[in-house]
Symmetry: none
DNA sequence: ATCAATTTGGTACTAAAGTATGACCGGAAT
DNA sequence: ATTCCGGTCATACTTTAGTACCAAATTGAT
């Protein structure tokens, strides 16, 4: 709708211009040899008109400037488990379960009760765990687990 | 410098136009009453010229897009020791020393060797440590220490 | 179906951890 | 000076952890 109103507006402007030009043309024709001045005025006027039209309708090329804003993310608990290190150890699922309870300070009896297994089984798992982790005690296992970030 | 070259360019263009207009003017003067068509051409031409000039000089609108870039800051040692909790436990300096080595996976013998003390002394410290920390094993002591953030 | 790995559990043993108790020393506070 | 506490060390004991070796059931993949 806005474009339509513009068209009407420009139409009216042009109509006015036609009469204006006719008047200027007639006036300058009285003065002979003034045609050059007349042409110059026309040229200047329409150049300005063109500039104005352009500034009104030609959308300026948009130059997009992307600014990276660094947002610091502070992880509350950087317990991103180091899957790579965990895989290296090649622990079985049960062994990993035992390790997690181990690190919570559970005794072998506690772990056995928690997993509904016998203490013997836990001892077996713990021993195998130590071999795979290359440690000699549960405290070393805990320390290494924390250091490698393989437990929460 | 670019603006200067533009000025020269437009100067040349205008010079060419002057001759072109003179030629067109002469040609149309032969045909009488063709002055209106001539004026029309002039108007159209300079309007287009004005548009072109405008588009050349209108500065592109800059659109600044701020992109949030998440930067994960991994604190190397987020081990801000919880002094409050540590003070609550009321550990002696030796006991705290023992606790720190304990948490590193050291055995009583290791700790004794590290502090140039007998294993008996370490056992005493460890026992007192457990009483003060209200735990029943070194693994529990480690877990609690990590949880309360009282060790590095 | 077979084979390897896992999971489970046992016995027997050793090593380490943990408890209880007592003793000695030295420094700091009362 | 005496008391109190931290630190040291010891002995004797119990408990737990850890090792070694074995064996059976289960599971998963070829």
């Amino acid at each position: 709708m806005k474009g339509f109103r513009h068209i009407i507006l420009y139409g009216l402007i042009l109509a006015v211009l036609v009469f204006a030009l006719k008047w200027i043309q007639w006036k300058f024709l009285i003065v002979d040899n003034a045609i050059d001045i007349y042409i110059g005025l026309i040229a200047v006027f329409f150049t300005i008109l063109g500039i104005w039209v352009a500034t009104q309708f030609v959308k300026p090329a948009t130059q997009t400037i992307i600014v990276e804003k660094e947002v610091i993310i502070t992880q509350p608990e950087e317990t991103t488990i180091n899957e790579a290190e965990l895989k290296k150890l090649d622990l079985s699922s049960r062994e990993y379960e035992v390790l997690q309870l181990l690190a919570k300070g559970y005794s072998n009896a506690d772990i056995a009760g928690n997993l509904f297994l016998s203490v013997s089984t836990i001892k077996t798992h713990v021993s195998n765990l130590f071999l795979k982790m290359d440690v000699k005690s549960r405290t070393q296992a805990i320390e290494k687990s924390k250091r490698l970030k393989i437990i929460k």
